[in-house]
């Protein structure tokens, strides 16, 4: 199959997934409500203004990318259980195109969700980022790495409930240990090491650094996210490929 045709298949699969997600207003609202709720709750805890929010909002943006990407990628499990995955498998589309398409949809959803929180952070709390290009790059890399995690979950889970449990098992520890609400430096040992094993930690750290106008650690964080993206994507696509070509 020609590379351009394969790429177009991926784009159409991603477009179709996103179209479904955005068709349901409730789906979009509910998926954004959780990070918004966490933002409001913790901003009250920290105080409505001041430096605490510049600490909080980059973390919330990274966390939102995580929820958006993983949720979207888990549509694979729904597709499997509803049989719609079979419809794509029966079409003359390569397994690689299917995986790339699903990954693209997850990453795009992660970026869009994060951008919404970025806008809320700027509008309500006045937290802005000078280097928006670097912010977008980090959000994109983070979204791809979370999507990779989503594909692993989708490949391992046999039905939606199992996928939900598996994803919560990964998302909630990441949310609390990924430096979103507390700096990892204040965590007792060995939690900082656990945090360093999580992609959200690097996304949060990078976004926070960019927000302060510095770029000191951003390159290292970006490389860590890239490594996560490659690793999780390879593993996730291997698992999905086994299912599709079994």
């Amino acid at each position: 199959m020609k590379p351009l045709t394969s790429l177009m298949h991926s784009v159409w699969i991603a477009e179709n997934d996103l179209r479904q997600s955005f068709k349901s207003v409730r789906h979009v609202v509910w998926s954004l409500l959780f990070p918004i709720f966490m933002l409001f709750t913790f901003s009250f805890r920290y105080g409505a203004t001041g430096s605490d929010n510049t600490f909080l909002i980059p973390g919330i943006v990274g966390m939102t990318a995580m929820f958006g990407s993983i949720n979207e990628t888990m549509s694979i499990v729904w597709d499997k259980s509803m049989g719609v995955f079979d419809r794509i498998l029966a079409a003359p589309v390569s397994s690689t195109s299917i995986i790339v398409g699903k990954t693209l949809a997850g990453a795009v959803m992660g970026v869009i969700s994060a951008l919404v929180l970025l806008i809320i952070g700027r509008t309500l709390y006045g937290v802005s980022f000078v280097n928006i290009g670097a912010v977008l790059l980090i959000i994109l890399l983070a979204s791809f790495s979370f999507t990779g995690i989503g594909t692993i979950i989708s490949g391992l889970a046999s039905e939606p409930r199992e996928a939900m449990m598996l994803s919560n098992l990964l998302r909630f520890p990441m949310m609390f240990l990924g430096g979103v609400f507390f700096p990892i430096e204040v965590m007792p040992m060995p939690l900082p090491y656990v945090a360093r094993a999580m992609p959200l930690t690097y996304a949060t750290e990078a976004l926070r650094t960019i927000q302060t106008g510095s770029t000191s650690i951003v390159f290292v964080d970006a490389m860590a996210l890239l490594a996560y993206t490659v690793g999780t994507m390879l593993l996730g696509s291997q698992i999905l490929m086994r299912i599709m070509t079994r």
Partner: protein
Amino acid sequence: MENAIEVKELTKFYGSLLAVDHVNFEVKGKEVFGLLGPNGAGKTTTVRMICGMLRPTSGTAVVAGFDVSQKPQEAKRRIGLVPDVSNLFGELSARVNLEFMGKLYGLDKKTRRERIDQVLELFHLKERQNDLIKYYSKGMHRRLTIAAALIHQPEILVMDEPTSGLDAQTARLVREIIIDLNKEGRTILLTTHQIDEADRLAQRVGIIDRGRLIALNTPEQIKNTTEGMRALEIKILNGVDQQRWIPIISEAEGVDKAFLVEGKIRILSKDLSQVIPTVVNFVDKHGGKIENISVAQPTLEDAFINLTGKSIREEPMSKEEYLKQRLPRSGLR
């Protein structure tokens, strides 16, 4: 095209579970071929291997001259699959669903638009084309599923239990569609557990049971496997559990097979003149009263029971059969 589909020694294991056991058959070009068998017999697994959605453990499936394992994309391009349940995207409209399918099959924008209009018109869905399909009735879902399978005008249509779960009126409509599509020159492979459907629609039938193809011929020829046998239908007086009588009547001399069909006890025998008085006496001896008795022609169902030793509709699915059905969709290996 001589053979549209050629299946040779097709075998599928799920772990240690043998789902399809060295199945061989051909579907001739422009014929309706019925794969008949009870739930869990291996029909869907066979179809999934033919459609390139499942890799055979051994054996080959060739579609329109393309080996499905070697050239899956070429084979898939020539097949339109109608699965047993509607598997289109509920959150999207009929038009958007068809648009997506058209894109995946490589149709350009103009052709897509024309074909979508055509199939929507053909299946009377044009008025509701922009409604989300989650609001469609079962019959509309089924029509749209067939429409989606036809969007790329495939030469071969594979239909898995096409009338399963439909009301009588919609099932009749779907059968008419199948006949029309075949008249247009399309080859149709359909799987069914409904004997009358296979009898009515298929020019040739393969009977599959526990993963093995046990008969392959025209419905008439298969019925002839009951050669020499005649069928007798009796009904024991109202208020009596007919099923209870099956093991009792099976003991009567001259009775080859006894089973329940639509509330009546159907008896197969080579010698009706001997078996009628024997059964009447036997029922009387066991305290029953016969309400009515009639002689009937052997049907495909009789042949099925004769070949497999069981009725196609009354056997509950075993745990293994349930797992076998569940495995392909669940992603478990």
